[in-house]
Amino acid sequence: MARLIKTETEIEGRFEEVWLVVEEDALEQWPGGPREVVGRPAARADGLARARGQALFTADLRFPGMLHTAVLRSPHARARVARIDLTAALAAPGVRGAIGPGDAEMVDETCEYEGAGAAAVCADTLEQARAAIELVEIEWEPLDAVLDPVAAVEQGSILDTRARERGEVERGLAEADATVSATFHTQTVLHNSMETHQTIARWVGGSLEVHTSTQYIWGVRDQLATALGLAPDRVRVVCEYMGGGFGSKTNADDYTFIAVELARRTGRPVHCALARREEHVIAGNRNATIQHLEVGAQADGRLVALTGDFVNATGYAGWNSMIEGPMHALYACPNVRTRTNAAKLNLPPMKAFRAPGFVEGTFGLECLLDELAQKLSIDPLELRRRNNAEEDPADWKPFSSKNLLECYRRAEPHWERRHEVRARSTETVKRGSGLASQIWYGGGGPPSYAWLRLGANGHATVVTATQDVGTGTKTALAQIAAEELGIPLAHVTFAVGDTERGPYSTLSAGSSTLPSMGPAVRAAAADVRRQVLDLAAQRYEADGAKLALENEAIVFPDGSRRPLAELVGVLGNAQILGSGSRGPNPAGMQVYTFGVQVAEVAVDIETGEIVVERVAAIHDVGRVINPLGASSQIEGGIIQGIGHTLSEERLTDPATGRILTRTLDAYRMPTIADVPEIVGELVDVPDTHLTNLGSKGLGEPPIIPVAAAIANAIRDATGASVRSLPITRAEMLAALAEARERERRAGREKVPAA
């Protein structure tokens, strides 16, 4: 029976209460460990199609008569369109339509950051559109811009302020045997999805059809329906294959609104895609941060106080990412006080980027703790063990499951290597090891629904309007259906990515797709399994409650079997239909993922070159559905984290607020030559409180501790403390000079004492 319940949902640290329709889900979790299909490595169902170029991404689609778009974007950090004339552009060869300020959402007269759209032109070819956009006559009135985050906070240009406190921080600090304070900086980084942000819009009768590269087809549908005043079912959003998003593709955004409006005006399908150079300006970013931190601890390493004063350089819009999250939830510290300001700047808005806030906050916190461990002469791994939180220290709710101590135990052999690593140092190349812990959400949540149909050949198709954003969602969910139905993985096909062809699914962000959709898929498969066994009971005159479905057969109490195909073979074109929904998360509990990483680095102390040689990653994300897909997530997260730590930075001109790093030679992501040996391990113990699966998400956890583990390894290798990302040659050489100076002074102070 369907029930209406109120429950709390979480996306990347933002909590919301929602009303929810759920069906009773009385399924017991499977026992832990690998099963017939679940828990065993499965190659991507669409891997060959992707490798062969057969998978059609939004960027590949061509509709008859489709027009192409160029957008006139503001070249100023802040400016108003004083005058605009589209006449010449409209008269240019091939041009079919043009819009100016106010003609579509996010196309405005006042442009509050560089790259904000002011006009757009669509034409028969992209080249014609680009030629025509240069013919738009426009006069800009530049306006004063706020560019510096510290100045913005001082002037009150703030999007949001969040203060959180528990215990008595001043008393904690006063009672501490040791304190360490330090300031950390993290830079602005770009997602750089391989497929740039783009949309094709076409009107079919009074309905709108939108093909878009998105992590949330239902969110785009909702946004468009609201903006256009259409009934939601008049808007169809499709994304079958998606070329990367990392958090930056959860909204419709200007390219979608522009395509929709130009399609309406021209009566043609219209494609609007960001070029790479536009992608580097307005596709979103992980915002820069400034973190003033202090920690106090007893001599035994137990934390007594943590404080953080954080600034998120958010940009003109976006949200105040939960940078203080790790400080509040990772360790059992009684006194914690944080204040987080989101600076409103005339710079392109931030967007969620793979564990937003936690990546930046973990860098500061875990480097600070390493400095504390050094000061107290306590082994960094032991320091973290001593501060392990048994329940959520923020509100004393129990964790639904937590195996961080087991992660630490499994990290020991990797951590033990540090002596041998250090011993391989030379006069100029110093080696060392560092570690950092990880906490993140990743429990997923309702609402999410799935349908499943079983045909007369005993093959199943899962139908759900979720999206596979390249993480292997289809494969893992097919494994769950195959396991529940007792059929081979190859007999399960998957239909996703179309709001008109399947039930609602949550967005693919916050490591939530698998923990949200997996339980719904299992419930739908269980619904079909029950129906199959009911039919078997009738056909074979047996007690349905005593029948089982496994290995494509009905299994009777005496062990005899009848093939599934024999039972459902009579259906012809008829099908057995099931449906399932995601139940709520466990009430009164906190759902988190945990982990620890150990990095090994080599630092050339004369040139400042840093080479990450090895990263061992041990994470606890509940039950693992597909170990092969999971290893890809671990590798991808660590590689992206290495770029964040060492080489990637979006730079702006301090005078004008314009973006300088617009190409892939100026904005430096790691190459395959920069990838270290990566050893991934998952604890793989189901969370017995979480859904019918006990699985959490793994998309984000592996990127979280990378920067701190590398920075701590650098300290181990060289004695230098790096507190700013990325750790460029300049940063590394400066930190080495500072360490030498510190040592020299310490040596001088020691002399009189000796």
Partner: protein
């Protein structure tokens, strides 16, 4: 004559760009945009830094290959990195440049004539090199910029190959003259845009590279591959003489004639003095040990 259809979004070719293939260099007009490997010209066309309706494809006219110390200007970097006939410093400079795909297309002549990676120049800020009256990098974001020869323009010359050839004492031959590689470049001055001395219609044809006793090229990058030099150092020992030339530290390839401490870094490039100094020390140790 042939017309090339647009190959990818954004290529200006869609606006009726023609490619002509002349029979001889005499047919090339003074303002012609020449095309060989295209790895620099095509991105500059796309970004509007070069504007033309006609590309002059000279790939078929350029000498190619390596023979007895002579290198055709149309030889690709990929061919040179695999050549056993050229000095170590030059081969290593080629190997460490760019990516395999770009080295397969890019020619050594084009590499010597490439433009700076200065982001202000690449974004068409009205700087000295674009005929303007200021250097935006000096006051702005200049962490990748020059530590020598930077009092007017702070851009850094990106060519690894040029630094190697400069240290090797190579000679360039054009369709009009022969000149030492150092004279191919000039430090940009106020009102004199450009960093090369080639005259209109002058085409680089060939390089003559003496054989040294020992040579080496060392390069510091932000990542292991496919990055321009933060600093590149070529060191050469020949006829009891040692020469050191640097990439990425001045608006032109820079022959180091005094101690590295004579550099004039900007606040954001001071680290390059230490970094380049360390590489120079290593490079000298390397050529003096072989």
């Amino acid at each position: 004559l042939s017309t090339q259809p647009p190959q990818e979004p954004g290529l200006v070719a869609g606006r009726g760009l023609r490619i002509v293939r002349p029979e001889s260099f005499d047919e090339i007009g003074p303002g012609a945009v020449l095309l060989a490997g295209g790895t620099e010209v095509v991105p500059q066309l796309r970004d509007g830094l070069l504007r033309t309706d006609t590309l002059v494809d000279i790939a078929g006219l350029l000498p190619t290959g390596v023979s007895g110390g002579r290198i055709g200007a149309g030889t690709t970097l990929a061919e040179l990195e695999a050549s056993s006939e050229i000095p170590d410093a030059l081969r290593e400079a080629c190997r460490l440049a760019s990516s395999p795909q770009l080295r397969n297309m890019g020619t050594v002549g084009g590499n010597l004539l490439q433009s700076t990676r200065c982001w202000y120049w690449r974004l068409a800020y009205p700087c000295h090199l674009h005929g303007g009256d200021r250097c935006h990098a000096r006051e702005g974001e200049h962490r990748e910029h020059a530590i020598f020869g930077n009092d007017v323009c702070a851009s850094a010359h990106p060519s690894d190959v040029a630094a190697a050839l400069l240290a090797l004492g190579a000679t360039a031959r054009t369709n009009r003259r022969a000149l030492p590689i150092g004279e191919l470049y000039r430090v940009p001055q106020r009102g004199a845009a450009g960093v090369t001395t080639l005259e209109p219609g002058e085409v680089l044809l060939e390089l003559e590279v003496p054989t040294p006793e020992a040579s080496v090229y060392l390069k510091a990058m932000d990542r292991k591959r496919w990055a321009f030099a933060i600093a590149g150092v070529a060191a050469v020992r020949a006829d009891d003489e040692t020469r050191v030339a640097l990439a990425g530290v001045a608006p032109i390839p820079w022959l180091l004639e005094g101690p590295i401490d004579e550099a004039t870094p900007l606040p954001g490039t001071a680290f390059k003095v230490e970094l380049a100094g360390a590489l120079v020390k290593r490079a000298l140790a390397s050529i003096n040990s072989t």
